[in-house]
């Protein structure tokens, strides 16, 4: 049976989702959902270990061999993302019941759970598959589910935000579909490994060029790379907290993975970077994103929004790492994907705890929070330090590689810009510290910490960010191996 392990992360939540919609009773569905989340995480971790030990795993659907049928191809890169996504989901699910009870209407929990599981299915399905069209199918599942998850919030603005996300996301997905179609047109195959070989033969055609263009623009929309980030701040701000935590930590990361997968293993770094000079497009966008979004984040009055803009900036870091096209740069990008997911997840969970008690995520309502919710506030500050890239947090590790990468290439101005952006990060994290610790709490406020069931997942994520700040075999080590492998053409 263990040879069928690869399908567990997809099929398990996919089956659990309809069951959730049938069971309806919160007392039943939350344990079910959470249990599934952890099982999936365990399966993904087992897969990663298997990949690390004995190389890529291939699983053919219905036993039809690759270009004829669909296959899973799990290598270091996607095993790494699988663990990330499922891990975040598992932790967020521990947190979810309490948070959902306060932020969602009672009678929709079963639908919410189903949507959550489907979103997870979609994200994992995108990551695990070795088939280009299959990526699109699962992209649709995850996108649809995330629109629903965002819009379910009690905040009426969430609907509009979800709608905007839906429009942008659909354009992005359609572009990806067009690209896949064009590639199929030119190669006659949808299997990624097969595509990688056959694209080489026709790569100087205009059709493939357009496929590349549609693909990259579609994915840029999905990863919210500046200036295509317009949907992100609203979506993150108005969604229920646990949804924000989950989506912020995983969804853009998976899109980034798709980006890496297509650019590096299908088109090949040589075509994308040397022939097309794609990094010349990515680099300025990444840098602009880093600086502008960080600066905008400083002026936000809503904590969720602040973090959302910070996410745009952090995505800039990741893309910057990718645009370097060197091992160090890619390592930085991959490590930052991982680390940022953990940090942002933790931060949004902390915000969720705050929202639970304050019913608001506006900064002005958080005066004296350091006194009222000392543990949560401290957790937020710790996460914020990670965003800044203070040593001993995971954020430092990725920033270290990023800076080292720029130095290796002799990109002095970029190095300086990155350091300046770190200072901008200090500024926006400081906004919270300022309000929470240096303003007196309102007179009627009592100290009221979030319940333990929310604190524990929050601290689990935080502990991992601190752990991965010291123990980098898993993040940086694996990222480096994956980077080497990607630059080697991914074969």
């Amino acid at each position: 049976m263990s040879s069928h392990l690869p399908i567990v992360p997809i099929v398990l939540p996919m089956i659990a989702a309809p069951l959730c919609s049938l069971l309806r009773r919160p007392a039943l569905i939350w344990p079910l959902t959470t249990g599934v989340g952890w099982l999936v995480f365990a399966a993904c971790a087992a897969l990663l270990m298997q990949v690390v030990e004995s190389g890529p795993i291939v699983y053919t659907m219905a036993n039809w061999d690759a270009p004829i049928g669909i296959e899973y191809r799990i290598d270091l890169l996607n095993a790494y993302i699988l663990v990330l996504v499922s891990g975040i989901a598992a932790v967020v699910l521990l947190y979810a019941p309490q948070s959902a009870a306060s932020e969602l209407p009672q009678d929709r929990h079963h639908l919410f759970c189903a949507a959550f599981l489907l979103c997870l299915t979609g994200l994992l399905g995108i990551t695990i598959t070795g088939d280009a069209f299959n990526v699109y199918v699962f992209l649709e599942i995850s996108s649809l589910a995330s629109y629903a998850l965002i819009s379910v919030s009690r905040d009426p603005r969430a609907l509009k935000a979800a709608y905007k996300y839906l429009i942008m996301g659909t354009i992005g997905a359609t572009f990806i579909l067009i690209a896949v179609g064009l590639m199929y047109m030119m190669t006659g195959t949808l299997n990624m490994a097969d595509l990688a070989q056959r694209v080489k033969m026709v790569e100087d055609t205009r059709t493939i060029l357009m496929a590349f263009a549609f693909l990259s623009i579609g994915i840029m929309l999905k990863i919210a790379l500046f200036p295509m980030h317009a949907w992100l701040p609203n979506a993150y701000s108005y969604a229920p907290s646990l949804v924000t935590a989950f989506i912020a930590a995983t969804s853009t990361k998976v899109s980034l993975y798709v980006f890496l997968r297509f650019v590096f293993t299908i088109f090949g770094a040589e075509y994308a970077f040397d022939t097309l000079g794609f990094n010349d497009v990515l680099l300025p966008l990444a840098l602009l994103g880093i600086v502008v979004a960080s600066a905008v984040a400083i002026y936000q009055t809503d904590l969720k929004r602040l973090l959302a803009y910070s996410s745009v900036a952090q995505i800039g870091y990741i893309v910057l790492g990718i645009s370097m096209g060197t091992v160090t740069g890619l390592t930085a990008g991959l490590a930052h994907m991982f680390n940022h997911a953990l940090m942002k997840g933790a931060l949004f969970l902390a915000v969720g705890c705050i929202v639970l008690r304050l019913h608001s995520s506006r900064l002005e309502d958080m005066a004296g929070l350091g006194k009222r919710m000392p543990i949560t506030s401290f957790a937020f500050v710790l996460g914020g330090l990670g965003l800044i890239g203070v040593p001993l947090t995971a954020g430092f590790i990725s920033k270290w590689y990023l800076l080292l990468g720029t130095l290796e290439l002799g990109w002095w101005p970029v190095t300086v810009l990155l350091l300046i952006s770190s200072l901008l990060a200090v500024a926006y994290v400081w906004r919270f510290v300022e309000v929470a610790y240096f303003q007196p709490p309102p007179a009627e406020a009592s100290s009221d910490e979030a319940p333990l069931s929310m604190q524990i997942p929050l601290w689990m994520l935080l502990a991992t960010t601190l752990y991965f700040g010291l123990q980098t075999d898993v993040t940086a080590g694996l990222a480096q191996r994956a980077a080497l492998w990607l630059l080697g053409g991914g074969q």
């Binding site: 069928h4 399908i7 099929v11 996919m14 089956i15 989702a17 309809p18 069951l19 919609s21 049938l22 699983y59 053919t60 659907m61 219905a62 036993n63 039809w64 270009p67 004829i68 049928g69 669909i70 209407p105 009678d107 929709r108 639908l111 919410f112 189903a114 949507a115 489907l118 299915t121 979609g122 399905g125 088939d131 069209f133 199918v137 699962f138 649709e140 599942i141 649809l144 589910a145 629109y147 629903a148 819009s151 379910v152 609907l159 064009l182 199929y184 047109m185 030119m186 190669t187 006659g188 195959t189 056959r198 026709v202 055609t205 205009r206 059709t207 357009m210 496929a211 263009a213 549609f214």
Partner: protein, 328 residues
């Protein structure tokens, strides 16, 4: 000669598309999108993609339009007037279109037998599938077996859409149900429309029968779960349009409906798992029976049924949700 048909259809398509963008009356726009879908279905038919044409006609021209109209009854019929033309959107659209056209320059000619599409996996499907799968309709064998996993994904997409709609709409509907203690006479139901009722009485069984035919004939001719599901849903929707939502709900209670929504997906995934327990890979129907093609038959039948149930019930419950809101 065929080019004349192509050109005419495409020209109509373009005209309709432009009309859709120019129109400010949303009602007309909805109807025009239906026309657009119908034209698309025609084009698909010309391209010999009958299965797709089927779906497009049923979903695009049929149910989507009904859903659009149901939505319109919740909102206004007129678009908000826009002060200045949206140049940004125009630029994006032109750029995208230009890029697409530019991309076609190096594409193999339409219908070129030397095109990679016709050289790589295509011939394999055509050559081997009748013996390997044992199903005459190659579209079905690709859809249900070779790429059955994609279809599972698509079924999940439909299921997800249903969850999304319910998440958004169900709450209001319930409140509404609690507030209406006694059955109000249903104005919208055209209950007094005798002619309609008689006609629908005559047609609905036919539609449902046709749905079943499409469902189970998918192996041999155009059709299958998606098409059948939509046709089935169209029948139910027609019934509730004529006889009122409450009557329709009596016939298909929401609980049963939601149960079936979930059941369709579970049936599909369950078939996949069953083959796992019969020592095959996931979705390997060949393992379901002694003989490979027999197993494929069983598997395809089951998963098509799963797809059909999901599609039909999802469409129905979406319609119920929208119309349920309209009354509040």
């Amino acid at each position: 000669m065929i080019h004349v048909v192509d050109m005419t259809l495409l020209a109509f398509l373009a005209i309709v598309a432009i009309a859709v963008t120019r129109m400010t009356n949303l009602f007309a726009t909805s109807v025009l999108t239906g026309v657009y879908s119908l034209l698309m279905a025609c084009i698909f038919t010309v391209l010999d993609a009958v299965d797709v044409a089927f779906t497009e006609a049923a979903v695009g021209a049929g149910i989507s339009t009904v859903l659009f109209l149901a939505t319109l009854s919740l909102t206004t019929q007129r678009e908000k007037p826009q002060r200045s033309p949206n140049w940004k959107a125009l630029c994006v659209a032109l750029l995208t279109g230009g890029a697409l056209v530019y991309g076609t320059f190096d594409m193999p000619h339409f219908g070129d037998p030397q095109a990679p599409v016709h050289q790589h996996v295509g011939p394999h499907y055509i050559g081997v599938s009748p013996t390997q799968i044992g199903v005459p309709n190659m579209v079905t064998s690709v859809l249900a077996s070779y790429r059955g996993y994609d279809t599972l994904g698509e079924t999940a997409v439909i299921f997800t859409a249903c969850m999304a709609v319910l998440l958004l709409l169900q709450h209001e509907k319930r409140r509404d149900e609690q507030s209406t203690v006694e059955e109000k006479p249903d104005k919208e139901a055209m209950a007094h429309a005798m002619i309609l009722r008689v006609q629908s009485k005559f047609f609905i069984p036919l539609i449902l029968l046709f749905g079943l035919y499409v469902q189970f004939h998918g192996d041999f001719g155009p059709g299958g779960g998606f098409q059948a599901g939509v046709i089935f849903a169209a029948g139910i929707i027609l019934y509730s349009l004529v006889n009122g939502l409450d009557k329709a709900r009596q016939i298909i209670p929401p609980n049963v409906l939601h149960g079936l929504v979930a059941f369709g997906l579970l049936l599909y995934a369950g078939t996949g798992l069953a083959s796992l327990f019969m020592d095959g890979n996931f979705l390997q129907y060949r393992a379901l029976a002694e003989e490979a093609t027999h197993g494929e038959h069983i598997g395809i039948l089951l998963i098509e049924l799963g797809v059909g149930i999901t599609v039909a019930t999802v469409m129905t419950s979406m319609f119920f949700s929208f119309s349920g809101r309209r009354r509040s």
